[in-house]
Amino acid sequence: MEKNNYGKILFEGIFTGNPVFILLLGLCPTLGVTSSAINGMSMGLAVVAVLACSNALISAFKKLIPDQVRIPAFIMIIASLVTIVEMVMKAYTPDLYKVLGLFIPLIVVNCIVLGRAESFASKNGVFASLVDGVGTGLGFTLSLTVLGAIREVLGNGSIFNIKFAPAGFTPALIFILAPGAFLTIGCIIATLNYLKMKKSKEG
């Protein structure tokens, strides 16, 4: 990895290597908490915090951790960070904590976090890993916010909790219920595929 390439690392995490829509990692919280844009965004930010810290810590300790036990060691680091985030959220944003509920402790088993630790942080420097963590985390946040926004607009007639739909508009409730999550993400990925196909045809 060349130096001063942080912009590229950031861009890769957010767009070209988007963890959710391109790599299909971390689907459970993606589908589970995106019933509104706010929920999706807050879940994403919690992951940013964990991912940035875990990447930086793992990168800092990579010489001390024996290769054979690296996965359990990574999981321990991640689990400790998740516990900290969980406690902070419980103390300062109890409402949010209630909504996201089970999915906060489940950040531990989010494949994105362990995946970045294994594929990036264990090979690169501390600052580059931090940037990669923030980038991937923001890519995750972006996907969750987009998914949450689409579902909220269609299913509730509002966005970021602001009602904008006219009085006559009946929202399709199905989109904030479970099936809507699957339908929406299917359509988003299909749209991305379509754009990719169009681009490769032109190019």
Binding site: L24, C28, P72, N193
Partner: protein
Amino acid sequence: MTFGSIFSIIVGSIFINNVIFAKFLGCCPFVGVSKKIDASLGMGMAVTFVITLASGITWLVYHFLLAPFGLDYLQTIAFILIIAALVQFVEMAIAKTSPSLYKALGVFLPLITTNCAVLGVAIINIQEGFNFIETLVNGFSVAVGFSLALVLLAGIRERIEYSAIPAPFKGVPIAFISAGLLAMAFMGFSGMQI
């Protein structure tokens, strides 16, 4: 504890609150391993085995080790370690005792550590305040619900393979759409009163 409460846990966990269609746990293997029916059956069996065992052990650890010493805050760390160790142990045990079973389940076992259904169910069991028997029953029925969803989707995907669908929808997107339709069907159970 009566027969009725056990029955309502079983039906509730398999159909009404299906782990995938209502709770969104274990979606990664759900999309990743549901291309072939036999692979999804193997995954389902491996998950059932691990979830039932993990539910029991995490319940014991929480109620006899963490709670008495006021260590509840270590729940996440302790549970994930138990699950990781358990998966490793199960893999070794199966490899030693039954090579044929190992052949069938082997490839799926390492994937299970990061299956959030396992950790999710362990945490739900504690949150719901289940007793030991209820925990085992709940773990088992959640896993059966998971396997059911996996096999259903695999069946649909095997058929979709040969049908003409718009090119951008091929592969993963159509799998998600099918899952959405399945989830809609499962919503029908939510009206059930037990």
